[in-house]
Point group: C2
Chain length 498, copies 2
Amino acid sequence: MNQSYEKLQKYMEKGVALVHAMGLFGWDAETLAPEKSLEKTAKTVGILSSEYFASLVNPEVKELLKELKEAEDLNEVEKAVVKKMAEDVRDLEMIPPEEFQAYNELTTRSTAVWAKARENNDFASFCPVLKEIIAYQKKFAGYAAKEGQKKYDALLENYEKGFGMEQLDQFFGKLKEEIVPLLKEVSKKNDTIDKSMIFKEYPVEKQKEFCAFLAEYIGFEKEKGTIAESAHPFTIGFHNDDVRITNHFLLQNLESAIFSVIHEGGHGIYEMGVRDDITQTCVGGGASCGMHESQSRLFENIIGRSKAFWSPLYGKLQQMYLQQLGDVSLDAFYHAINKAQASLIRTEADELTYCLHIMVRYEAEKKIIEEDYPVEELPKLWNQLYEEYLGVVPPTDTEGILQDIHWAQGSFGYFPSYALGNAFASQIYHQMEKDLDMETLLHEGNFAVIDEYLREHIHQYGASRSTNRLLHDLTGEDFNPDYYVNYLKNKYKEIYQL
Amino acid sequence: MNQSYEKLQKYMEKGVALVHAMGLFGWDAETLAPEKSLEKTAKTVGILSSEYFASLVNPEVKELLKELKEAEDLNEVEKAVVKKMAEDVRDLEMIPPEEFQAYNELTTRSTAVWAKARENNDFASFCPVLKEIIAYQKKFAGYAAKEGQKKYDALLENYEKGFGMEQLDQFFGKLKEEIVPLLKEVSKKNDTIDKSMIFKEYPVEKQKEFCAFLAEYIGFEKEKGTIAESAHPFTIGFHNDDVRITNHFLLQNLESAIFSVIHEGGHGIYEMGVRDDITQTCVGGGASCGMHESQSRLFENIIGRSKAFWSPLYGKLQQMYLQQLGDVSLDAFYHAINKAQASLIRTEADELTYCLHIMVRYEAEKKIIEEDYPVEELPKLWNQLYEEYLGVVPPTDTEGILQDIHWAQGSFGYFPSYALGNAFASQIYHQMEKDLDMETLLHEGNFAVIDEYLREHIHQYGASRSTNRLLHDLTGEDFNPDYYVNYLKNKYKEIYQL
């Protein structure tokens, strides 16, 4: 092994260990930690975080990174590690420590301000804080931007490399052109699908049992995974032998927990599939936010809401809830879980309208970062965009611009990766259908073959290969939003008989 | 604040944060971590452990400790921190790194060898490994021993400062003189107490509910504490706002989980009572193993097995299990949970015989460390001591010398702290009865007063004051085993009408 790399590896491994520890504190806070513990525990996490900073930002690491930048005797993973560490060091160093601290204090405070504003439908009380956050985000974007790069592009690339405004304008332009009119057609036939059975009472113990079964069914290995409960479902992977997902159960909603476990299970299977020589390195996670989301959405929506997936499973669910589902056919169930309806809240949106909610946020963020759009006017803009794309107008800001925590946390540029994830998933699935007999595999519940395919082409590489490269290697072309648009059009035309 | 102390504090806080993180990994391994995660997670814990070592063993810390040793401008807690850090540094440095590593590898291997030997009742297969461990322990004891100090004394003081062979010979001598004959008398009247109702079937969900109620009843604050399940119950405290206990439920044993939760609850209440300026320092834990055990045993046995404790509670338990306990009086229940009977397994021993199990181990360890007793002959010695103290002879080594994991882990000198804990508890309780109307408080379930008393005199200080000092300040005298002997004699004479 290259001797400089060996030295660098020590720092990398220390950083990975500290991230693992901080991740465990995060997981613990959402699951078993007592309510009053967080304040004092924050002190520990703060110290680990400083140690993480020091493990990367120091003269020796910089020297080693410089030396290794052009090294020829590194293998693919080692090269990826060097590249990722250089990026991490740049990101950590970019912001002056005093600004970083002031900003952290601001966002700690701002989420509380936001929560209260949301509760009271009082955008005005959130407005001054949001202005401060936006000012910081613009400043940070300026630090991050490469020469000639626009600020919003720099923010977008934080989350999804290679996907700036040029790519996204094209992507969302297509959605606007094709999905907005499709939704209008669908809306007219809304009464043709009955979804009421989903909201009967479904005792939670059985839901838990069915969801645990589902997780295993799709390939979430229980010896390497944990399923717990938390207020909002999420996934966290510590390494390929330790991947955790959470779920949340509602008595009067059958689909919430079921599609959460398939969604988080998809994230989890990705993390479990990372190769052993990659998993405990700084490129041990997924290739990008969008690629990660592509796997969860592929499982949740493309697979999880297909008739082929449910054909061997629905009988079991029906047996568990005979009273509620005894007279509901597979076909009726399939239609119910795919009913599309324009609504106000992103996190409750269906597969068809979800991307339109993202489009609203993308357009708003572009104006905020690039056009200095007046923050006071944002609720108006938000409502206009909802009306234009979804045909609904939020009656309150609580159900409008105040619904998401993201801006209060300073996450600008993050939302588009949710929509990209859906689009990547469609492109990947299109290829899977060429290479595999998906219909038969799903009818047989043969996830061994499905997961192995995804592992071979995507999961194993972790973040050692870029999203663009993985997409191109697998599908033979660059990102192409047509697959997503066609998938949605075909699916919803069939469901609504348009 | 003293400027050198301020510098030292940074190192101390880093060490405390790393111990917190390692503790969380330990807790997680016993609760939510997936089965196959441990091997890779060990890498992270290994790195944190090296960082902990480096945070204490370094030239600057040594220099600061030297400087601060005689500093006059430190407060009591700061002085305790300096003293504890100096001890920790000494302990960490004492063993040459190569030896430490070889020893760690040995004890990792040895617990597996021990587990197999226990399973197969095959002491011979464990014997060579045990010899190696003993050789290391003697060597380490040599490193640790102060001038003129005997090796076993050095090992004992690892766990309980101020309690070497001189004190323990006297302590166990008294037990031998008084408790061994008492047990003989009790054994003759063994048939007078019926315990069979304890082993009926008690559905586990209700046990969980009752145990959660009990934890809160005795003062384990649920906003600052977590109760989870694990194979063996234990307590871990991260700081005074985050204390975790576990429990284990058996369908056919009513008392196991109940007394576990009171025992671990006692440990937990100790950790929750540590003062805010002490909790996140290196003296934030309990004063010593024995003092910690004194609190758990005080709650479990002296309080938890008293009639006054159960008088307001038994009706509730009876209501929960009407079928099983409907015709069992409080008096019959009280006798059942206090039935004493010589047995083979320490962890299942009752309050009267428990200390005799410890006495066997103390006598054996003394011979092992101080008299080079032949390891091959240990099973014979073990069985002889059981016959002498408890009047029972293990039919197999599995039920005899192979029952405990401690020696396989290299813990020599640890067992006596269990017995000391019981004795400290009796001495403390004797004082509590003078200062408080315990009978009335227990009848009223007034644990606010009881816990406040313990907090004031013991818990608040963490490890900033020694066990001996705490005992002396509270009771006006040094450790005195008479209280323990008298407590047992009075209790069992009354129960068995001797």
